[in-house]
């Protein structure tokens, strides 16, 4: 039971974490990417397509799918960057457009390629990986060290992103870019280029997170399969106070929520299971309102920046 819940928590947290790590970077640079839901959906779809068309090479197909997923997220982010950073459009509206675009485009192409019923059930996917020795530790060994490889990559990325953001010059610049972009311009760096790079990273990560859903979580795509996970990732970034390590904690908490939700549903306890589904959003609101510790958003978050200013 315990082992089960822990394992499900980690699996549920992984796509949220992947997307949230990207979003942390883009928000710290001052770009509020609410198109993250759409970018994940695009990643999930194209990841599946990539794996489907290389299915003869079983070992290689999921990796190829994952690369396609990441690249498709990157392309979506490039479109976002064109409108939000080059044309200085409103990031909220572009984000909404992104999500609508992804919902429509993935279903239209899916129906074209695979028909209404969908023949792309069961594409080659990432297999469970047992880490020798570690996975044999009693009680929690299997729960922690027996997952597909993306789970390990996601959690290993947490310290990497943390180190990058807080202990490198580029990281410092990114943080400054979200607080006081003018300062960055004064030292001769380009705010626009920096923000574009961060946004591309966020898009790529969201695409990979989507790829996790259709290449590791389940081996197929269904239209609209992200069901709000992108927005949960957005909640995680805020609940984690724009910090990669805290965001990882938040992702695990919400992963636990979804793991418990399935089990409470089976147990038939008094609490309706929708309470667990609501929890991430309510907690996010509580954090924003300062009921659970104050969270300060990057000062310039969501504001377009003009080179002339």
């Amino acid at each position: 039971m315990f082992e089960d819940i822990l394992s499900a928590t980690i699996r549920g947290a992984t796509p949220l974490l992947l997307a949230a790590l990207g979003e942390v970077i883009s928000q710290r640079a001052g770009v509020l990417n609410i198109g993250i839901e759409g970018m994940m959906l695009i990643g999930a779809f194209f990841g599946m397509v990539g794996s489907f068309y290389t299915a003869e090479f079983v070992m290689f197909a999921p990796w190829f799918g994952l690369i396609v997923a990441g690249l498709s997220g990157l392309v979506a982010a490039a479109l976002f960057a064109l409108f939000a950073i080059r044309l200085r459009g409103d990031q909220v509206i572009i984000g909404t457009a992104m999500t609508l675009l992804a919902l429509g485009l993935t279903e239209v192409i899916y129906q074209r390629l695979f028909g209404v019923t969908g023949i792309a059930q069961g594409v080659p996917a990432f297999q469970q990986l047992e880490i020798p020795l570690l996975s044999e530790i009693p009680i929690f060994g299997r729960a922690l060290f027996s997952h597909n490889i993306l789970v390990f990559i996601a959690f290993l990325l947490v310290p990497c992103v943390y180190f990058f953001l807080y202990h490198t010059q580029q990281g410092l610049r990114i943080r400054a870019c979200g607080e006081h972009p003018k300062a960055i311009a004064t030292v001769g760096a380009s705010v626009l280029r920096l923000r574009t790079m961060c946004l591309l990273f966020a898009g790529g990560m969201a695409g990979i997170a989507g790829g996790y859903l259709s290449l590791a979580d389940v081996p197929y795509f269904t239209p609209g399969m992200t069901v709000g996970r992108g927005f949960i990732a957005l909640a995680i970034v805020i609940f984690g106070k724009w910090h990669p390590v805290k965001a990882c904690g938040a992702a695990l908490l919400f992963g636990l929520g979804s793991a418990l939700d399935a089990r409470f549903q089976a147990l038939g306890w008094g609490i309706p299971y929708q309470v667990w589904l609501m929890l991430p959003y309510v907690l996010c609101l509580a954090v924003l309102a300062g009921f659970v510790g104050r969270a300060e958003a990057p000062f310039a978050l969501g504001r377009p920046y003009g080179e002339s200013e």
């Binding site: 509020l32 609410i34 479109l79 409108f83 044309l87 200085r88 459009g89 409103d90 909220v92 509206i93 572009i94 909404t96 457009a97 992104m98 999500t99 609508l100 675009l101 919902l103 429509g104 485009l105 279903e107 239209v108 192409i109 899916y110 129906q111 074209r112 239209p223 709000g228 927005f231 957005l234 909640a235 805020i238 309706p272 299971y273 929708q274 309470v275 589904l277 609501m278 959003y281 309510v282 996010c284 609101l285 924003l288 309102a289 300062g290 958003a297 969501g302 504001r303 377009p304």
Partner: protein
């Protein structure tokens, strides 16, 4: 005579006509390219869409019916954005209105006399109020705790979605037979009347259009409307002139939520007559495209909503005729939004962007 016409011409402002036409033309061309890439024939598809949306009186009636939720949610968004409030929460407010209308229609209706003349106004009234109160949550969070309304309204949308799920999937409003995740049908005397049965055209369409006219009047001919626009166009200047930003934020959020809530209640009492999961296919998000295409003018929103209603009925017909998924409407909506930003409305946003003073 001639000066008069010139004056009129100046007053109409050419951009009001040219920009939307440019936006729509670009969006249609972009979609045609996407269809070509997917090996669908765009001409055939558009022809099917037009005949599906306007082909005969029944089809046109259906287009009007589909336009109503877009209009109500679009008005909600337009009022909020006018005041510089980024209410992305029309989706949730719409659902809360529908939820309360369901509660009234299934649980409270038996206590009311069996005539629509009393039950329907009461039902729509409390649903409107509920939508407004739901809209006040992000407003209070914003004025009291400085919470960014973009994030809070998105989060509240999901809270509302799961609240609906909680009520109708294993909750108190689930149908008596407990078979599916949906409510019972509301009592017959809570049905919003249909105007020309068997057509589905209903009284809600008239209500929505009347509201658009009233809101236009309020926005451009009353002191309150003036204050609201002043806050939207330059909060700092408005505040210096003695206009309370806090009061306007609260009022506008209430109005915006109430409009969306009423929209949900109309959709429920006039059309579906019961609540189910996925009751709203994203009306609240589409409404953003509707309102922006109409340049946040309530009266023009009527035309924009009609267009989006036609896109919806047109997409069903495209699916039947050329086989493209009806979700292609989402692609259309997204491209319209992107071209809104790409074209004339850029100036609008530049103005807004610079009005975000660092003191905010």
């Amino acid at each position: 005579m001639i000066p008069k016409i010139v004056n009129l011409y100046k007053r109409i402002d050419i951009h009001w006509v040219v920009t939307p036409v440019l936006i729509l033309a670009s969006a249609f061309v972009t979609n045609a390219i996407i269809m070509l890439l997917c090996h669908y024939n765009p001409l055939e598809a558009y022809e099917a869409a037009v005949s599906g949306a306007f082909g005969n009186s029944r089809k046109f009636g259906e287009t009007l019916v589909k336009s109503t939720p877009f209009l109500m949610a679009g008005l909600s968004v337009a009022m909020a954005f006018r005041c510089g409030i980024w209410n992305i929460g029309a989706e949730g407010q719409f659902l809360i209105g529908a939820l309360v209308a369901t509660w009234f229609g299934t649980k409270l209706a038996p206590f009311f006399p069996e005539t629509p003349w009393i039950a329907v106004p009461v039902c729509l009234g409390i649903a409107t109020l509920a939508g407004g109160i739901w809209g006040l949550i992000p407003a209070v969070l914003k004025v009291a705790r400085g919470v960014n309304e973009v994030i809070s309204t998105i989060m509240l949308n999901y809270v509302a979605i799961h609240l609906v799920g909680m009520m109708i999937d294993g909750g108190p409003l689930q149908e008596a037979s407990q078979r599916g995740p949906q409510s019972d049908r509301i009592a017959e005397w809570v049905f919003l009347p249909r105007l020309f049965p068997p057509h589905r055209i209903h009284l809600g369409i008239v209500i929505a259009v009347l509201l658009a006219i009233i809101l236009t009047f309020i926005l451009f001919r009353t002191a309150f409307g003036y204050q609201l626009r002043a806050v939207g166009e330059g909060p700092a200047a408005a505040e210096a002139a003695g206009i309370s930003i806090m009061h306007n934020t609260l009022r506008v959020f209430f109005i915006s939520g109430a409009l969306a809530g009423l929209g949900g209640a109309i959709e429920l009492t006039a059309l579906t007559r019961r609540l189910y999961l996925n009751f709203s296919p994203g009306y609240g998000y589409t409404a953003i495209a509707v309102a922006l295409l109409a340049k946040l003018n309530p009266l023009v929103t009527v035309a924009a909503a009609l267009l989006f209603g036609a896109l919806t009925t047109g997409s069903y017909s495209m699916q039947r005729t050329v086989g493209i998924s009806d979700k292609v409407t989402f692609v259309m909506q997204a491209t319209i939004l992107l071209f809104v930003i790409g074209y004339g409305s850029i100036q609008f946003f530049r103005k807004r962007a610079s009005s975000h003073s660092p003191t905010e």
